[in-house]
């Protein structure tokens, strides 16, 4: 060491109570010797001096009152201890020498970690810094660390006087010890060294609470709206209210200038707390699916009662009353938390452990906060605790959002399922309705058909029948019979059921064989006897029956045959019927065509109607062969 270091001596003096003894009139002189060599040796940019004592005097004068006795006071100076009930302002004076400062070119500064509520800093009677308004409403600087640079031009080569005027509030008129008047220890040194300290403390005291406030405000409003819209999730609304409320309370940490006096600000802040408790307790209970009518009344009542007691007690007794309420509200919150955790534990829900952890951390943080209030200590732990609670709230909020999102997803899924089921049901109903309508139409059609059929049979049928049996002319009789058949077909044929081919063959066989038998002609019928899947439309059946009837009539009436063979075959989807007799054959007309009188034309016409053909081969001596070919599929479809 090239020179004696007064720094260490000063420190030692500061710690010695004997030196601080009043009445000695001893002025603490701080010789700050700054040399570049030492700074380099330390590698820190230079040493700093921590000031643990200062001359202090209560006065509202414009400058440090030299006329009054200024006893030495320990720093940090907590007014609630050193001068209870005092509202200041208090002047502090620190005298120091800083030889060689100008030459070194180093910028000097004083760092004040905590001052409450506001301050003015003078160097050698020159105002260096004012933290804001010094009268009510006083600018709130309790949470804002101060860094004041000491311009080298103002630093005298000899003894320098650093004066700090502090205005504040007595403990009893604030609700938190952190906002009671006082001044922390000072640190004087190069700005370059103090700057990081100041920045770190500002970040911890101001930036973090600001960020937390913003986060809580955003998330809280969001969740409040969510819970408000969806009344079944009212716990979300309460949680949102809690978050927003907390964000407002937290704003007291960084919001410096309020438009009201300290008393009003403190009162409003305290009045917020039962509301926060209400939100918190209701959130926990609703979250645990519990609703208490008594609490629904008691908690809002408390929000009225508490401010009332504060008003009754008056602003000067705020702190004790508020402390009592703090404890009470904390207990309520704790009870709600315990109740919530108990139901979660019993319900064996998955959210028990994470929620238990979060609530425990929040409780511990609250406890630390409470303890620091009681003890008046501000450590890193206090800061951490202050941050921990809102951080836990953010985590709980995220958890709630996750649950809400999941519930939403589930609801959407079940919604989709429901929609699907409704669609299916609708389709089913429509299908049924269509079927029903079709059935109804069928039924009505059927009834109508029957009615028309009955009418036709009774009237037209009877008249035709009379003609059939009373006409002298065979031709008219036949025409009437055909008309009767046609009428029947018209009535039934269109909607008549298709006839199984096997049944049709049975009907034809019965008629043909019995008629030929009666006429004394030997009949030979051959047809497939197996199961036949084919069907004939009602019209095709009747037309074919007529063709066959006509053919057989011809055989009986005109051929003079003694034998007639009929064969029915299925080939390539065609039904082929061959009627062969051993009679005289059909005589030729003059124009070379077969005799029309034998009904050949009508047979051919009918076959044509069924998209088939009827071929007649005949010659004198070798009988007649009638080949009837009907395409089965088309004959089936033909109406």
């Amino acid at each position: 060491m090239p020179c004696p270091c007064p720094l260490s001596a000063a420190r030692r003096h500061g710690r010695l109570p004997g030196l601080a003894r009043p009445g000695l009139g001893w002025l603490l002189a701080l010789a700050l010797w700054l040399c570049a060599g030492l700074a380099q040796a330390n590698g820190l940019g230079g040493p700093t001096v921590r000031i643990h004592a200062a001359q202090a005097v209560v006065s509202d004068s414009a400058s440090f009152p030299t006329d009054k006795p200024a006893p030495l006071s320990d720093l940090p100076d907590d007014w609630s201890v050193s001068r209870p009930g005092s509202a200041g302002p208090v002047w502090y004076r620190i005298s120091f020498t800083a030889p060689g400062l100008r030459e070194s070119g180093e910028l000097l500064g004083v760092y004040i970690e905590h001052v409450c509520t506001n301050l003015e800093v003078y160097l050698n009677g020159q105002l260096l810094q004012r933290g804001g308004r010094m009268e009510e409403p006083i600018t709130q600087n309790c949470n804002h660390p101060q860094l004041v640079s000491l311009p080298a031009a103002l630093v005298a080569p000899g003894l320098n006087a650093l004066d700090i005027k502090v205005v504040g509030h007595p403990l009893d008129s604030v609700s938190s010890r952190h906002r009671a008047g006082g001044l922390s220890a000072l640190e004087i040194g190069p700005i370059s060294v103090l700057e990081p300290l100041h920045a770190q403390q500002t970040a911890l005291n101001v930036a973090v609470p600001q960020a937390v406030s913003a986060t809580l405000l955003l998330m809280g409003s969001f969740m409040f709206v969510l819970g408000w819209m969806n009344r079944r999730e009212s716990h979300l609304a309460y949680f949102g209210a809690l978050s927003v409320g907390w964000a407002i309370v937290e704003s007291r940490l960084w919001l410096r200038n309020l438009p009201f006096d300290n008393a009003v600000a403190e009162f409003l802040l305290c009045a917020m707390l039962p509301m926060l408790t209400l939100a918190c307790v209701q959130f926990l209970l609703r979250y645990a699916q519990h609703r208490s009518r008594m609490l629904d009344i008691a908690l809002p009542l408390q929000c009225v009662v508490m401010p009332a007691t504060l008003v009754l007690a008056g602003p000067e007794r705020l702190y004790p009353v508020a402390s009592f309420w703090y404890a009470l509200l904390a207990l309520q919150t704790l009870a709600a938390a315990v109740y919530y955790l108990r139901t979660q534990y019993r319900g064996r829900t998955r959210s028990f452990w994470p929620m238990a952890l979060l609530l425990c951390i929040a409780t511990v943080a609250l406890f630390i906060e409470y303890a620091s209030q009681k003890l008046g200590v501000r450590t890193l732990w206090t800061h951490m605790a202050q941050i921990a609670t809102p951080v836990m709230m953010v985590l709980v909020g995220l958890r709630l959002l996750q649950q809400h999102g999941k519930a939403l997803q589930v609801a959407e899924e079940s919604n989709a399922q429901l929609e699907q089921r409704i669609r299916e049901a609708t389709a089913e109903i429509e299908r049924n309705f269509t079927q029903l309508a079709e059935l109804r139409v069928e039924k009505v059609t059927e009834r109508e058909r029957k009615r028309i059929a009955a009418d036709l049979h009774d009237d037209l049928g009877a008249k035709l029948l009379t003609i059939v049996h009373t006409s002298e002319s065979e031709r008219i009789s036949t025409l009437a019979r055909e008309a009767l058949e046609e009428m029947r077909l018209s009535v039934r044929g269109l909607t008549g059921k298709p006839v199984q081919l096997l049944d049709a063959l049975g009907d034809w066989r019965a008629e043909v064989v019995s008629r030929l038998g009666q006429a004394g002609i030997e009949a030979d019928w051959s047809a497939p006897a197996d199961e036949l899947p084919q069907t004939l439309s009602a019209r095709a059946f009747v037309q074919t029956t007529r063709i066959l009837r006509e053919a057989v009539s011809n055989v009986i009436k005109h051929s003079g045959a003694t034998h007639c063979s009929l064969s029915c075959e299925l080939a390539d989807g065609d039904l082929q019927i061959i009627v062969r007799d051993n009679g005289n054959g059909i005589p030729m007309e003059l124009d070379g065509r077969l005799d029309r009188g034998h009904g050949m034309a009508s047979m051919k016409h009918r076959a044509k109607q069924l998209q088939g053909q009827c071929l007649v081969e005949s010659g004198p001596g070798y009988g007649t062969v009638i080949r009837l070919t009907l395409p089965l599929t088309r004959a089936t479809e033909a109406a």
């Binding site: 009955a454 049979h457 009774d458 049928g461 009877a462 029948l465 009379t466 059939v468 049996h469 009373t470 019979r481 009767l484 058949e485 029947r488 039934r492 096997l502 049944d503 063959l505 049975g506 009907d507 034809w508 066989r509 019965a510 064989v513 019995s514 008629r515 038998g517 009666q518 019928w525 006897a529």
Partner: protein, 218 residues
């Protein structure tokens, strides 16, 4: 054959039928009726051997007359003479106790032949009616939950079914007699038996239905 009931509403057709009947049964006494009411009056007064009954009549259906004959004169052979050739009209008449049917529009010779057969105890049975009868008894043979004990169980014998099956395929009764080595007479008896069973079964069914209606009507 002496007494024959002829129920037909159209005078021309009635006259025509009457002449046909006279041709087949020259010494018959023909009682003519134009309405169901008249026919029922005749049924209660005269004992008939044969009844030719039209179905569609001004005051009701000939089925009622068939049923009345079946009830009061079981020996009478009722034959439906109709313009309707569909099962829907014919089957109820057969169930009511008619032995076969004759289509009015058929040629005179054919109707005469059928009447002669009937007089010989050979009721007509067409393939489509045979199919219908088979379907009816097939449906009945299925187990039915509704009080089977109260209903006399009527079913066709194997032989009767065999005859029905062959009729349905278009074989004539003489042909079936040949195929089964039975006399024409025996085959005719089977057919009559089939008609009778159809009637008995239908009556039992109707009685049961009435009973059920009565139970529910209470």
């Amino acid at each position: 054959m002496t007494n024959i009931l002829l129920l037909e509403d159209l005078p021309e057709i009635r006259a025509w039928l009457s002449s046909l009947v006279m041709q087949v049964f020259p010494d018959a006494q023909i009682a003519e009726a134009a309405r169901v009411h008249d026919a029922l009056g005749l049924v209660s007064a005269i004992k008939f051997d044969l009844a030719l009954v039209d179905l569609g009549l001004p005051d009701g259906s000939g089925v009622d007359v068939v049923a009345a004959l079946r009830e009061h004169q079981p020996e009478t052979q009722s034959v439906v003479v109709t313009i309707h050739d569909d099962d829907e009209h014919l089957f109820p008449a057969l169930q009511a106790g008619a032995f076969g049917y004759i289509l009015k529009e058929q040629a005179r010779e054919l109707i005469i032949e059928q009447l002669q057969r009937i007089s010989q105890g050979e009721p007509p049975l067409s393939p489509s009616i045979a199919r219908r009868v088979m379907a009816y008894f097939a449906a009945k043979s299925k187990p039915q939950p509704a009080s089977p004990s109260a209903m006399p169980h009527v079913s066709l014998t194997e032989r009767e079914t065999e005859v029905l099956l062959r009729v349905a395929k278009g074989y004539t009764l003489p042909e079936i007699g040949q195929q089964l080595s039975l006399s024409r007479h025996t085959i005719a008896d089977y057919v009559k038996q089939i008609y009778r069973k159809l009637n008995v079964s239908s009556r039992a069914e109707a009685a049961l239905e009435a009973q059920r209606m009565g139970l529910f009507g209470r």
